[in-house]
C-alpha cells in the first residue's frame, strides 16, 4: 500500500513539478522581453521532451555503436571482432534467419487477416460487428507473459498414455494419433510458426481496427461509380477500395514489421530460444545478461538499428508527403 501511495505522490509531484518547470521556463522567456521572448520560448517548451529523447534514445544510440567495437566489459577496443564472431557462428545465423522468418510472415498475415476481418465484420449488424471486433481486439490488452499462460494450455504436451491437458494434443489424440511436443518440433520451423500464431492472436485486432476505419472512410460515390460501370464486388474491392486504403495498409505493415524485429517476450517465455526458435531480441538479452557481454549485445543492437534505417527513411518521407497534402 505504501508503494501505491508513493506512486500516487510521484504522479502528483511529477505533474506539479512539470507545471512549475514550464511556468519557470515561461517566466524566463518572458523576462527576456520583446523579440527574444518570442525567439526563445518555443525552444524552452520543447526542451524537456527533447532532453528525454536525447538522453534515452539519441545518446545511447551513439554510445551503443561505440560499445559494439569494444570487449565484453567495454574496457578495450576489439575492432570488428564482435560482428565477425557473431556472424561467424552458425547459431547466430540461425537466430538471424528465424528473425527474418518472423519478419517475412507476421506483418503480411497481420495485414491480410486484419483486412479480412474488417471487411467481413463490416457486413454484420452493428451489434454483432461491435462484439466480434471487441473479442478480436481484446488480446491486445494482454501481455505476452499472460499470453504465455494462455497458450500453454493450447500447446502443452504430455507423453503418450497420459491424459493431455493441451488443447491441440487433446484433439490430436482424440483423432487417434500420438501427442506431439509442439514447441520442440523444429522441422520446417514449425515451432516458430506456432509462436507467430500467438503474436497474430495479439496483433490482428489492432490491424483490423485501423483497416476497418480506413475501409469505412472510402467515399461511397467511388463505389457507386464502379457499380454503375458494372464492376463486381470482388473487383470493386481490389480495384477501388484497396488503392484508397493503401496508406493505412502500409502503416499497419510497417508498425507490425518494427514490432516483429524487436520480438522478445513470446520466445523468452515459451521456449527461451530452445529447439531453434531463438530470435535476435532474445539473443541480445542473453548476451547482455547470461554472458555479460556488452560488446556483443551492442553489436546485435547496431545490426537491428541498421535494419530499421530504411524504415525510418520511409517513415519520414511518408510523413512529409502527408503534411504537404494537408
Amino acid at each position: 500500500m505504501l508503494k501505491i501511495l508513493n506512486a500516487l505522490i510521484t504522479v502528483g509531484v511529477g505533474i506539479a513539478a512539470a507545471v512549475v518547470l514550464y511556468w519557470l521556463l515561461d517566466r524566463l522567456a518572458t523576462s527576456l522581453g520583446g523579440k527574444w521572448e518570442q525567439r526563445v520560448k518555443p525552444y524552452l517548451y520543447i526542451l524537456p521532451a527533447y532532453a528525454a529523447l536525447v538522453f534515452y534514445l539519441v545518446y545511447p544510440a551513439v554510445q551503443t555503436a561505440v560499445f559494439s567495437f569494444a570487449n565484453a566489459t567495454s574496457t578495450e577496443w576489439v575492432g570488428l571482432d564482435n560482428y565477425t564472431d557473431l556472424l561467424g557462428s552458425s547459431n547466430f545465423r540461425d537466430t538471424l534467419f528465424n528473425t527474418l522468418l518472423w519478419m517475412a510472415i507476421v506483418p503480411v498475415v497481420t495485414v491480410a487477416m486484419g483486412l479480412a476481418v474488417a471487411v467481413l465484420a463490416d457486413r454484420l449488424s452493428p451489434r454483432w460487428e461491435k462484439s466480434s471486433k471487441t473479442i478480436i481486439f481484446l488480446p491486445m490488452a494482454i501481455s505476452f507473459v499472460g499470453a504465455g499462460t494462455v497458450w500453454n494450455l493450447v500447446y502443452d504436451f504430455r507423453p503418450p498414455g497420459r491424459e493431455q491437458i493441451g488443447l491441440q494434443n487433446a484433439i490430436v489424440t482424440a483423432l487417434g494419433f500420438d501427442p506431439i511436443a509442439w514447441l520442440q518440433l523444429s522441422d520446417w520451423h514449425f515451432n516458430s510458426l506456432l509462436l507467430m500464431v500467438m503474436l497474430l492472436w495479439a496483433q490482428v485486432g489492432f490491424s483490423m481496427v485501423l483497416l476497418s476505419a480506413a475501409v469505412k472512410g472510402v467515399p461511397e460515390d467511388t463505389l457507386e461509380a464502379a457499380r454503375i460501370d458494372g464492376a463486381n464486388e470482388r473487383s470493386i474491392f481490389f480495384r477501388v477500395v484497396v488503392p484508397q486504403i493503401w496508406g493505412t495498409v502500409i502503416t499497419v505493415f510497417i508498425t507490425t514489421l518494427i514490432g516483429v524485429m524487436k520480438i522478445f517476450d513470446i520466445v523468452y517465455v515459451m521456449t527461451n530460444g530452445t529447439a531453434n526458435t531463438n530470435v535476435i531480441g532474445l539473443e541480445f538479452f542473453n548476451q547482455l545478461f547470461t554472458n555479460a557481454n556488452n560488446g556483443r549485445a551492442a553489436a546485435i543492437v547496431v545490426m537491428l538499428m541498421l535494419a530499421t534505417v530504411p524504415i525510418m527513411w520511409y517513415q519520414v518521407r511518408h510523413f512529409r508527403r502527408e503534411e504537404s497534402m494537408a
Binding site: D26, K41, P42, Y43, I46, A49, A52, Y56, L57, V58, P60, A61, T64, D122, R123, L124, W128, E129, T134, I135, F137, L138, M140, A141, I142, S143, V145, G146, T149, V150, N152, V154, D156, I165, L167, L199, Q203, F206, L210, A213, A214, G217, E220, T248, T255, I258, K262, I263, F264, D265, V269, F284, F285, L288, A297, M312, Q315, R320, M325, A326
Partner: protein
C-alpha cells in the same frame, strides 16, 4: 505489447477527411452466411484459449494438471471443487500480490508524467513558428521507429554508476524517454487539427502562450491525451523486457517479471497457479481496455475518422 509501441504512431496520420453516409454496412440483410460463419469461427478461436485459462485458474491442482479444462463440460462434479485457492496461493506464495502493487507503482507515474511534458512540446510544434521546427519534428518522427534496445547497454551502465538499477525511478524515467516520441507525435498531430481561429482570437485577446495552452489547447486535446495515456498504460503494464533489464527480479519486480520468474520456467508451478497468475496479470489491462476502448479506438483512428 512491446511491438505496438510505434504502432499508433505511424497510425495516426492515416487518410484524411473522407466521410460517407452510413449506407453500406450495418444492413443485416447484406450479411451473407459466409461472413457470419467466418467471423463466428474466428471469434471462437480467439476467445477459447482465454476461457480455458479462466476456468483452469479456479480448478484444484490435481484437476488442473491431470485433466483438460474442457472436461468440466461433461463432469459436473468438478465444478463443485473449483475455488479461489489458486489465487490466494499465487498472491501470497507466488509473490504476485506484491508484484501487482509494484506494477501499479511503476505504471502510474510512467503513464501520466510524459503526457504533460509531451503536450507542451506538441503545442510548440503545432502553434509556434521557429527556425528548425520542421527539422526538429522530423527528428521526433524518425525516433518513432528506433528500437528501445539501443538504450539498454549504455543506460544500464549509467544506472549502475548512479545506483539507480532496480529502483522505480529507473523504469519511470526509461518509460518516459521511450514513450516521448510517440506522445509528442500523436499530440502534435491532433493539435494541428484544432481550429486555428480559436487560438488566433485568444492571442488577439491578449492571452499568452501559457494561458492559451492551459485554457484552450489542453482541454480541447483530451481525446488525444486519453488515447496516449491508455496506450502508454497498456505498454508499461505489459512490458517485460524493460522491467527485466532495469528492475530485475526482487522486491520491486512488476507482475510480468514475477509471473515469469516465480511461476514459469524452472519454477514450473503447475497449471493451476500459472493460470491464476496469468489472469492476475491481465485483469487490470483488460478492464482498462474494455472501459476505455472507445477513446482508444478513436485515438488510434484519429486521422481516419476526422471529417
Amino acid at each position: 505489447m512491446t511491438q505496438t509501441q510505434t504502432t499508433m504512431a505511424a497510425a495516426t496520420p492515416t487518410p484524411k477527411t473522407r466521410k460517407r453516409q452510413p449506407s453500406r454496412e450495418g444492413s443485416p440483410q447484406k450479411a451473407g452466411w459466409f461472413a457470419r460463419i467466418v467471423v463466428l469461427i474466428l471469434c471462437f478461436l480467439w476467445i477459447v484459449p482465454v476461457i480455458g485459462l479462466f476456468l483452469t485458474s479456479f480448478r484444484p491442482r490435481d484437476d488442473a494438471n491431470e485433466t483438460g479444462w474442457w472436461t468440466l463440460f461433461w463432469t459436473p462434479s468438478a465444478w463443485g471443487r473449483m475455488s479461489l485457492d489458486n489465487y490466494s496461493q499465487a498472491i501470497d506464495q507466488g509473490g504476485l500480490g506484491n508484484a501487482f502493487i509494484n506494477s501499479l507503482a511503476i505504471t502510474l507515474p510512467a503513464t501520466f508524467i510524459p503526457v504533460l511534458v509531451a503536450a507542451f512540446a506538441a503545442y510548440a510544434f503545432a502553434f509556434m513558428e521557429f527556425p528548425g521546427r520542421d527539422f526538429l519534428f522530423l527528428a521526433v518522427v524518425s525516433l518513432l521507429v528506433v528500437p528501445n534496445y539501443i538504450a539498454f547497454v549504455p543506460i544500464l551502465r549509467i544506472y549502475g554508476d548512479l545506483e539507480l538499477a532496480g529502483t522505480f525511478p529507473a523504469v519511470w524515467l526509461a518509460h518516459i524517454g521511450f514513450g516521448m516520441s510517440l506522445a509528442v507525435y500523436i499530440l502534435r498531430n491532433y493539435m494541428a487539427t484544432l481550429p486555428r481561429s480559436i487560438i488566433e482570437s485568444a492571442k488577439i485577446d491578449g492571452a499568452s502562450h501559457f494561458q492559451t495552452f492551459y485554457r484552450l489547447v489542453l482541454p480541447m486535446s483530451v481525446p488525444a491525451l486519453a488515447a496516449f495515456a491508455i496506450f502508454q498504460f497498456l505498454w508499461v503494464w505489459n512490458d517485460l523486457l524493460v522491467a527485466l533489464i532495469f528492475v530485475g527480479p526482487g522486491d520491486n519486480a512488476p507482475i510480468t517479471v514475477a509471473l515469469r520468474n516465480n511461476l514459469m520456467g524452472q519454477a514450473g508451478a503447475g497449471q493451476h497457479l500459472l493460470t491464476a497468475g496469468g489472469f492476475l496479470t491481465m485483469v487490470l489491462p483488460i478492464l482498462v481496455f474494455l472501459f476505455m476502448q472507445r477513446f482508444f479506438v478513436r485515438g488510434l483512428t484519429a486521422g481516419a475518422v476526422k471529417g
